[in-house]
């Protein structure tokens, strides 16, 4: 990935080092509770990178990305609920018992999100621009209201997990372990996404963003490529959802509300669209700022708003563009 020692190399190395050492640093300054805040940041970063895959690289502005995030979270929670309850999750067409093993429930969360993304994508990708925004938004809101009315799983009140999932001998209840797990998964997805956007598939996605008509006249049936990209992003958001359910040990329909989609979108815009590391930065900036501002005022959005507007107005490629300068391309 890095051939020369450039500003970008330094920035990314420093960032990686910081993320690696964070738990130790937090222990040193005696603020260990902050580790779970940083886990949250990593989880939202994963969701934001997945959104940028379709938004920044594919030009598909979705305002319903939280639907996949929320579904992932609910899948994990529902499995966990039945595991403690002892009742079967499904009896027809197959019998499905509750489950706490992350190696089973997280892939199940991703699969469910992927299937949902296939359905929503197949319909909404027939439109573009404003229509696409509205349709993705509408689907996410439908899902939100579905879970609000789903009394069996807490409805409006949401659902608490009795404990975090189990994962092959790892103690996920340990915040440091959980942090490193989140970091590993985020890095894995970043590597996958990096390869993806530079592959033939990625070129088709980027070409479709730039000029859909030209792609078609070159001979690309772009609909199917965009749909697959939408599904990949949905699955990754589902994984982020599975993680957030474990991190907070609580899920509610609010996870799918359109404001949540908006927050993930803001993270992408803030960090820099069409870059891979930008959304990570955006998620960190957003959540840290929220944390700090919330100490001083309940109306933190009043301060966050103007900050966002300034960044979006004056930095076309967000914070990441400001920091690494012209090398923001290629991730």
């Amino acid at each position: 990935m890095f051939r020369r020692l450039t500003r970008k190399t330094y920035v990314l190395s420093a960032g990686a080092l910081l993320l690696l050492l964070l738990p130790s640093i937090m222990q040193l300054v005696d603020e260990p509770y902050l580790i779970s805040l940083f886990s949250r940041i990593l989880i939202y970063a994963l969701a934001a990178v997945s959104l940028d895959l379709i938004l920044g690289y594919g030009g598909m502005v979705s305002l319903g990305h939280a639907a996949f995030f929320g579904i992932g979270a609910y899948v994990v929670s529902i499995f966990s609920y039945h595991s403690f309850d002892g009742s079967p999750l499904l009896t027809w067409p197959l019998t499905l018992q509750g489950q706490e093993n992350a190696l089973l429930t997280w892939p199940a969360a991703m699969l469910t999100s992927a299937v949902l993304a296939a359905f929503i994508g197949a319909l909404s990708l027939r439109t573009s621009g404003m229509h696409f925004i509205m349709i993705t938004l509408a689907f996410a809101q439908m899902l939100y209201f579905f879970f609000v009315s789903l009394e069996a799983y807490g409805g409006d009140d949401g659902l608490s997990l009795m404990s975090r999932n189990t994962l092959a001998g790892l103690d996920l209840t340990n915040d440091t372990t959980f942090y490193y797990l989140c970091l590993t998964l985020l890095c894995t997805f970043l590597i996958i996404a990096y390869r993806l956007v530079h592959s033939r598939f990625g070129m088709v996605i980027r070409g479709s963003r730039d000029n859909a008509k030209r792609m078609q006249s070159l001979g690309f049936p772009i609909y199917r490529y965009k749909l697959v990209c939408f599904i990949i992003a949905g699955a990754a958001a589902g994984l982020a959802g599975a993680l957030i359910a474990n991190q907070t040990e609580y899920v509610s329909p609010g996870l799918m509300h359109w404001t949540r989609s908006g927050i993930i979108l803001i993270m992408v815009l803030l960090g820099g669209t069409g870059t891979l590391f930008g959304p990570v930065l955006g998620a960190a900036a957003f959540l840290l700022l929220e944390e700090v501002l919330a100490i001083y005022t309940a109306h933190w959005m009043v301060y966050m708003g103007p900050f966002l507007i300034l960044v979006v107005l004056f930095a076309r490629h967000g914070l990441y563009g400001i920091i690494v300068g012209r090398e923001k391309d290629n991730g």
């Binding site: 390869r195 592959s199 000029n211 006249s217």
Partner: protein, 252 residues
């Protein structure tokens, strides 16, 4: 007589009150360079759009070889061997010149559900890149974003992308317009060379270039064919002189 590669039969396309293509029939022979001329708004671009698939006709048929293509979507026609350039340049502004051409090459190298290997270092694609970029004279500009090219260079890239598709039938919509004298000369040389390799449907305003390059010419006015024939036949056709060439002489 050479067989027809493209047959257009009774083709109609209207935009509201404007009949941009009016019961038009035309045959393009395999291997020829067929030029379309006509005044502004005659329906030349519309005809290209109907053949390429950018537009669907109201009525009528288009056959490529024996196959009816008039209702096929754009990308299907591309795989049957059609490629085009656009009058209003249509490139990928955020991608580099090289990436633009690589995409055009990639379009004809199998499916693109390949997720891991970098397309930039893909030897199958790069093998075709060098000649593709050289023949339109953009070697020095390979790393520049297409959006930052001059207008003339964008037109060169536009033609280069169509050629990278290795078409059976190449549709060129005013490739020389706005290119500047140097570029025009280069492009004329290129088209002369391409004539040996493929069938070309060329729309162009530059009458000198047309009469020098074309095997046959069709004159279009108000979406209708006024005449089709060799350059000599067209030059001496009274209807054409009146409808089109006459005007040209007067305005000069």
């Amino acid at each position: 007589m050479a067989e027809d590669l493209l047959r257009i039969v009774n083709l109609c396309k209207g935009f509201g009150a404007v009949q941009a293509c009016n019961n038009l029939s035309l045959e393009i022979r395999a291997g020829e360079l067929h030029a379309i001329i006509g005044p502004n708004g005659a329906g030349k671009t519309t005809l290209i759009n109907l053949v390429s698939g950018d537009l669907l006709p109201d009525t009528g048929h288009i056959y490529l070889g024996d196959q009816e293509i008039s209702q096929l979507p754009l990308h299907r026609r591309a795989h049957l061997g059609l490629a085009r350039s656009y009058q209003i340049t249509s490139v990928f502004p955020q991608l580099t010149v090289e990436e633009n051409l690589l995409l055009a090459i990639q379009a004809h190298c199998g499916h693109s559900f390949r997720f891991w290997k970098s397309s930039n270092t893909d030897s199958q694609l790069r093998g075709e890149l060098l000649p593709a970029i050289e023949q339109v004279g953009l070697t020095e500009r390979a790393g520049i974003r297409a959006g930052n090219l001059s207008h003339g260079e964008k037109k060169q890239l536009e033609v280069g992308m169509a050629l990278a598709c290795k078409p059976r039938l190449l549709l060129l919509d005013e490739p020389m317009a706005g290119m500047g004298p140097g570029g025009t000369v280069e492009l004329r040389k290129l088209i002369t060379k391409l004539k040996q390799q493929m069938t070309i449907l060329l729309v162009e305003h530059d009458v000198d270039a047309i009469f020098a390059l074309a095997d046959r010419i069709t004159v279009l006015v108000y979406g209708e064919v006024v005449a089709t024939g060799t350059p000599e036949e067209i030059r001496s056709n009274p209807a054409v002189r009146e409808a089109y060439l006459g005007e040209e002489v007067q305005t000069c």
